[in-house]
């Protein structure tokens, strides 16, 4: 049974058909890629999976449970972590607080614990803090723990977002253009990090990417989305050589 299965998912924004008959299957530990030109509906697919929008039709089964209609935070607590294309970080919170925040659904001390600062509250906060430090070290941003995020360089902000997504202890990680706006050096580091997450934590990863080099190197199977419809799926080589893809997305001339 696949970890995440999507069947015939369709979504309309008013009269605009953003996604049409979208199918996907990801087993645990697999890496899947989603490419497509701007406005193809890639981020909408992510938003539909994570519950921000409710699909007009179709079903999404995650970890053996139908998740259409659940609230985003419920879906996330089931183990579906994501990052955002345009870095949704919290302006006035420190890096450490970001990662601790993602442990929200695991907190058991309750409101009374928070109000009176019970020993249990302190213990749990301490545990979460240690976990957060571990994740930040793993992402190589441990030194920034006490800084507020706007002070960080862009590449580091991306990694903080990644650490935050990992703190919810996901079974699958949805990465929305993890290398957008990065220079070549940061790009290589980010690819290294994604590979490490995949190998060390054994996570399934589903990523949207614009840079062909990244998807080609990381993903086993790639889907190409154009105007909300999957026009091709296959291994990186197959996709690279698929004339429809070249036509719609890579352009008619040289392939990167």
């Amino acid at each position: 049974m696949p970890l995440l299965r999507i069947e015939k998912m369709t979504h309309y924004f008013g009269g605009l058909r953003a996604v049409h008959n979208y199918d996907l299957e990801i087993e645990s530990g697999q890496v899947r890629g989603l490419i497509g030109p701007n406005g193809a509906g890639k981020t909408t697919v992510f938003d539909l999976i994570t519950g921000i929008y409710r699909p007009t039709q179709g079903e999404i089964i995650f970890d053996g449970r139908e998740i259409v209609g659940l609230k985003p935070h419920q879906i996330a607590s089931m183990g579906l972590g994501r990052t955002f294309q345009n870095l949704l970080l919290w302006r006035y919170m420190t890096v450490l607080e970001h990662v601790k925040m993602a442990c929200y659904s695991k907190i058991s001390y309750g409101l009374i614990g928070a109000f009176f600062g019970t020993p249990r509250c302190h213990r749990e906060e301490g545990e979460n803090e240690n976990k957060a430090y571990r994740l930040l070290e793993m992402m190589g941003v441990g030194d920034f723990a006490d800084q507020v995020v706007p002070n960080l360089p862009y590449g580091a902000q991306r990694r903080v977002e990644m650490a935050r997504a990992l703190a919810i202890e996901p079974k699958i990680l949805l990465l929305d253009e993890p290398t957008a706006g990065m220079n070549p050096e940061e790009l290589i580091q980010m690819m290294e990090i994604i590979r490490r997450i995949h190998e060390e934590l054994g996570l399934a990863i589903f990523l949207i990417e614009h840079r062909m080099r990244v998807v080609m190197e990381l993903c086993e199977i790639i889907q190409t989305l154009v105007f909300g419809e999957v026009i091709a799926r296959g291994t990186p080589e197959e996709i690279q050589n698929n004339p429809k893809v070249i036509d719609a997305y890579l352009g008619k001339e040289a392939v990167v």
Binding site: H73, M101, I107, G117
Partner: protein, 435 residues
């Protein structure tokens, strides 16, 4: 010649920085010692010094009121301030600094609550003696402490959560009336509610319950605001909460059973200074705990980016509603205390002017900050009392100051600062001594 003036200006600035440095080495407990000595001095010498300086009585509010009333007395008021407050506090704090530092270091070895209790005890002693001089000071101090509760609780909504709520006077009214009815029905022979049901000796135990019940009724009212307005983001809360405030006010005005627009009086005199002080401390402690826990930080996450908060497993709707009810609870408690301090409430108190006052205190002090709320409430109350002799011009000066704050510090004087008790109490040593 130029060299000399430059030298002297350098030595002046050196002197100043040295003085500042020596002041920064004084721990909080040292300042509290100083304050205690100063208020003791005022008790002993205050009245004779005031008379000798040509003032009719001890200046009740650090001389501000006297200065504005009679310009001739400005030098005497300033001299009084210097002799009774500034010099003794400075001297005692400075001289006791080594001792105080050692004491503070020793206290830190005990559990934190012990050290906190000692500091609070000293603070209370100083406030008690200071306010012992006149009834006006006691009343003002109580109202300021209540203002701290109000400001802090509104800061949870408007600062930490980043919504804009206007219903705080409404919650306060609910708390004030509930607590008043509770105590008046049970303990007072009243013409509205008949003879007392319980002996007044139980009052000490019942009064906290009355306040908590008042807070809970305010929370219930908050639920009525929260359910419709947290479905969406934006200005809805501001509008719904403003409406709520007016609904509460006119509902009470039309309830003859609690006296209608004439108000409700003869509350028992239980809100003495220690009670108000303890409730204020409890409020600061609980709210500070809450906003520093992950459950409370979730408010910041919701404010800064709700979509990200949702994706990181934060139950945003529950977070918002809980925080709103929590803030309303404290507003209700503040209302209950307020009613028992004045021993009279009428619905007219809880109108748009109260709202403007609370909002001003929050935005003046600083958003998202416990320090800021304390500074805002104390500063605004002091200012508003001190400028009272200016009469109508007070309402030109205070808004003007607020505008200046908004221009130069848009988030308030002390915004986004964490309230760290340990840092506050720790000994202030030179860097090399710390090693």
């Amino acid at each position: 010649m130029e060299v000399i003036t430059r030298n002297s200006s350098i030595s002046m600035s050196l002197l100043r920085s040295k003085a500042l440095e020596s002041l920064s080495r004084i721990p909080l407990i040292g300042w509290l010692f100083g304050a205690l000595i100063a208020v003791a001095l005022e008790h002993i010498l205050g009245i004779s010094l005031a008379l000798a300086l040509g003032m009719p009585k001890i200046p009740v509010l650090f001389g501000f009121v006297i200065m504005l009333k009679k310009l001739v007395l400005i030098p005497s008021a300033m001299l009084y301030m210097l002799l009774i407050y500034i010099l003794p506090i400075g001297a005692v704090a400075r001289l006791s600094a080594p001792l105080a530092n050692r004491l503070a270091a020793k206290l830190l070895r005990f559990p934190l609550w012990f050290s906190v209790a000692i500091h609070l005890g000293l603070l209370y002693a100083a406030l008690h003696m200071w306010s012992g001089i006149s009834d006006y000071r006691i009343l003002m101090l109580k109202l300021t402490l209540i203002a701290i509760i109000l400001t802090l609780s509104l800061n949870v909504i408007n600062g930490y959560m980043g919504e804009f709520s206007c219903s705080h006077p409404g919650f306060m009214a609910l708390g004030a009336y509930t607590a008043s009815v509770f105590t008046v029905v049970l303990f007072v022979d009243d013409r509205l509610f008949g003879p007392a049901l319980l002996p007044p000796i139980l009052g000490l135990f019942i009064f906290p319950i009355a306040l908590i019940v008042g807070g809970m009724v305010a929370s219930l009212g908050a639920l009525a605001v929260a359910i419709p307005s947290f479905r969406t983001r934006g200005d809805y809360l501001a509008i719904v909460s403003l409406a709520f405030m007016f609904i509460v006010k006119s509902a009470i005005e039309n309830l003859e059973i609690v006296g209608g627009p004439r108000g409700l009086s003869s509350q028992p005199d239980w809100a003495n200074l220690p009670t108000v002080f303890l409730w204020t401390i409890a409020c600061i402690w609980i709210i500070n705990n809450f906003v520093n826990s992950t459950l409370g930080k979730a408010l910041n996450a919701v404010r800064d980016n709700e979509m990200a908060a949702d994706a990181m497993t934060v139950n945003t709707r529950r977070t918002k509603i809980v925080a709103f009810l929590f803030a309303a609870f404290w507003a209700g408690v503040a209302g209950g205390l307020f009613a028992h301090v004045l021993r009279y409430v009428n619905p007219g108190t809880f109108g748009i002017q109260k709202l403007a006052e609370v909002l001003a205190m929050v935005y003046f002090g600083g958003l998202n900050s416990v320090y800021g709320s304390i500074v805002g409430a104390v500063g605004f109350n002091l200012m508003s009392e001190a400028l009272r002799p200016l009469q109508i011009f007070k309402w030109i000066l205070i808004p003007f100051l607020l505008i200046l704050v908004m221009i130069f510090r848009p988030t308030g004087l002390i915004a986004f600062r964490e309230f760290n008790v340990k840092n506050l109490l720790k000994p202030k040593l030179k860097p090399e001594e710390e090693v």
